[in-house]
């Protein structure tokens, strides 16, 4: 049962620990910039970009550009991303026997 749930988790777009951390960080914020996200999660820009592209392709996050002194890339968790995060957290709770 537990192995089955973990397999289900590994098939999720948020099954990767870094992507799960990105989604959780975004959930607690209204929006964040690419740079802030990279700093907070201690990821290199290249690494973060790689994961964000995968998350964006799966519809988990939305990215867009805003302008200030210089163009800034903003990242937000999408509604689909919130749904998936809800599912992943439910699975994790079941795995640790919290439910």
């Amino acid at each position: 049962m537990r192995a089955e749930r973990l397999r289900e988790l590994s098939n999720s777009p948020l099954g990767n620990p870094t992507r799960l951390a990105i989604a959780l960080y975004l959930l607690s914020r209204e929006r964040t910039t690419f740079i802030e996200l990279a700093k907070a999660l201690k990821l290199t820009p290249g690494n973060l970009d790689f994961h964000l592209k995968a998350l964006e392709k799966a519809g988990m996050v939305k990215t867009y550009y805003g302008f200030g002194k210089r163009p800034r890339k903003f990242v937000e968790l999408s509604e689909k991303g919130t749904d998936e995060l809800e599912r992943v957290m439910r699975i994790l709770r079941e795995v640790v026997g919290g439910d």
Partner: protein, 211 residues
């Protein structure tokens, strides 16, 4: 992470962080009002260039337009905050549906509070400045009171800091009419409303820090 105990610990830490974020979001609209009310008051009354306006054609419209904008902004901020809290609650495994009725009842609550405050403050046999001060206290007290009621009806939840805001603002009406000229009534109302909102924000954040 193969160790289930380690996973459970990490999950607990994540849930604690999300719970903290949720409670801080609850304080947002109150911090917003606490900061905005004195600013609105200064803009409409205290600055020389705006106080000149209040004697002329633009007078009441200026104050009314600023107050309406502030309320609209508040409703928008509050709805964004509620949406964020709902997402956090869903992920935390405690879903609470927000019906369209909840949003409509909040807006209707503010409108009703505005109308009641207007009628009551006009009915008060007092000088114009006391009526305006009473209007502000009634609007804030009744408006937040109606928000408490709509949360109770639609979410089955009582927000005690909001109940306190409502009680503080409405009970300050008694003090308002017993001011012995030591304080400007408008400034008194603004201070009461601002401090009641700041107090509610403090209660939310203190609760978040303690849990």
């Amino acid at each position: 992470m193969e160790n289930v105990g380690e996973l459970a610990e990490a999950l607990k830490a994540v849930e604690d962080e999300l719970n903290l974020a949720k409670k801080v979001y609850l304080a947002f609209p109150f911090i917003f009002w606490a900061a905005l009310m004195p600013l609105l008051y200064i803009l409409t009354n205290a600055l020389p260039w705006t106080s000149g306006w209040s004697e002329g054609f633009l007078g009441d419209y200026w104050g009314m337009a600023l107050s309406t904008l502030a309320i609209l902004w508040f409703v928008i901020e509050e709805n964004r905050m509620v949406k964020k809290i709902e997402s956090l609650e869903r992920v935390l495994g405690m879903p609470r549906g927000r019906s369209r009725g909840y949003v409509v009842s909040q807006m209707a609550g503010w409108l009703l509070a505005g109308m009641l405050a207007f009628v009551f403050s006009l009915a008060i046999p007092a000088q114009y400045e006391f009526q305006t001060a009473a209007f502000m206290l009634l609007l804030a007290g009744l408006g937040v009171g109606f928000i408490v009621l709509s949360a109770l009806l639609f979410l089955r939840r009582v927000e005690w800091p909001q109940v306190l805001v409502s009680l503080m603002d409405l009970s300050a009406l008694y003090i308002l009419f017993n001011l012995d000229g030591t304080m400007n009534p408008g400034a008194f109302s603004v201070m009461v409303i601002s401090s009641s909102f700041a107090f509610a924000a403090f209660l939310y954040i203190r609760k978040a820090m303690r849990e």
